[in-house]
Symmetry: C2
Subunit: 205 residues, 2 copies
């Protein structure tokens, strides 16, 4: 770094480390990874790792931060009024197109996402992702949410139900090889959300 210009060596090193991280999470799980594992796999000196990251947790945090920022950008820039659209009509095109965009983004980052959402991944990231989905759908003020009068149940349970459900579907999609297209996944998710899981299973009416 000099005059704000990035050093090519830094970029190469960081890319190498992050690639090693994804591989190792899938192989042995995040908790079992040692810094030595990462640097051996990335073919860099162990001291170099500590020049860029405090520890493996710091590395993980910075990778996750990038994902969350991207997802926020997609949501807020392209679809500023998802909640409004949902309130007038949940079947409108806006929420559907947002869902397609999210799945398209996940498709491009599937390696990392699959690793951190998998059984050897990072639980705190799941929690953040659930909360993101919750807030994207119902807004980011849980107190206001809980006081909505036309809710049949407390808002917090609606939020946790929905956030977890969406995250669960995303994980299932990544884990089973992304056979469905983002458009198809958006249709599936919208169908369950609108009809409810029991009706979508043919168990109702």
């Amino acid at each position: 770094m000099r005059n704000g210009n990035p050093d090519l060596r830094v970029i190469r090193t960081k890319e190498s480390i992050r690639h090693a991280l994804v591989e190792l999470i899938e192989e042995k799980g995040f908790e079992a990874i040692t810094v030595k594992d990462l640097t051996t796999r990335a073919k860099i000196n162990r001291g170099t790792f500590y020049a860029h990251y405090q520890d493996k947790f710091d590395l993980m945090m910075k990778c996750e931060e990038e994902i969350m920022l991207d997802m926020s950008r997609i949501t807020k820039q392209n679809f500023p009024s998802v909640i409004a659209a949902l309130k007038t009509d949940p079947l409108t095109e806006t929420p559907f197109h947002l869902t397609v965009s999210i799945f398209e983004y996940l498709n491009g980052n599937s390696d990392f996402m699959k690793a951190v959402l998998g059984p050897k991944g990072d639980l705190s990231f799941q929690t953040r992702l659930k909360k993101f989905m919750w807030e994207t759908l119902y807004g980011n003020n849980p107190n206001a949410l809980a006081k909505e009068e036309n809710f049949l149940v407390p808002g917090q349970y609606l939020g946790s139900f929905t956030g977890s459900a969406i995250t669960g579907v995303i994980h299932q999609w990544l884990d089973s090889g992304r056979k469905e297209s983002p458009q198809e996944m958006a249709r599936i998710l919208t169908t369950i959300m609108v009809n409810g899981p029991l009706f979508a299973a043919g168990l109702k009416k």
Copy 2:
């Protein structure tokens, strides 16, 4: 142990270790716990720990196994035909009473459950719990599930949606202090399942 009689010291030691485990998961997260942490907190020698468990993963596994066995027992003994009941009428009393029983059991083991489901908990246990919820509702044969003709979406996404959603609601309940009774939680969960998350939020019709 001799002639099947339990040694009082063993019981004391194990209880002490498990109590320390719950405390430490909430404090620093499972992955950051060392065996030394556990034994210091439990006031036992580190070698003693290895006499009972292979490592911290073995300890965790045995604690989780107990929970899963209990939940299976509750489901299978008292409600052998939840799926049949759901197919005839999801609003029947059987699924509701099963839900109450599950929440009552979770209420009695809330310390451990809250710890392992929390952001510093164990992801593989969440996966097992989701699968358990999935199978309890829709049966334990994913292939048969995917081939059901009256499904509006592929069965695997219905399963992951529902399993994750229920687990998410349970976690929210544990995390926000279990203010609602098991009966009230069963009502909330049943309401969202039957009506769907959007209708339950007043966003539909």
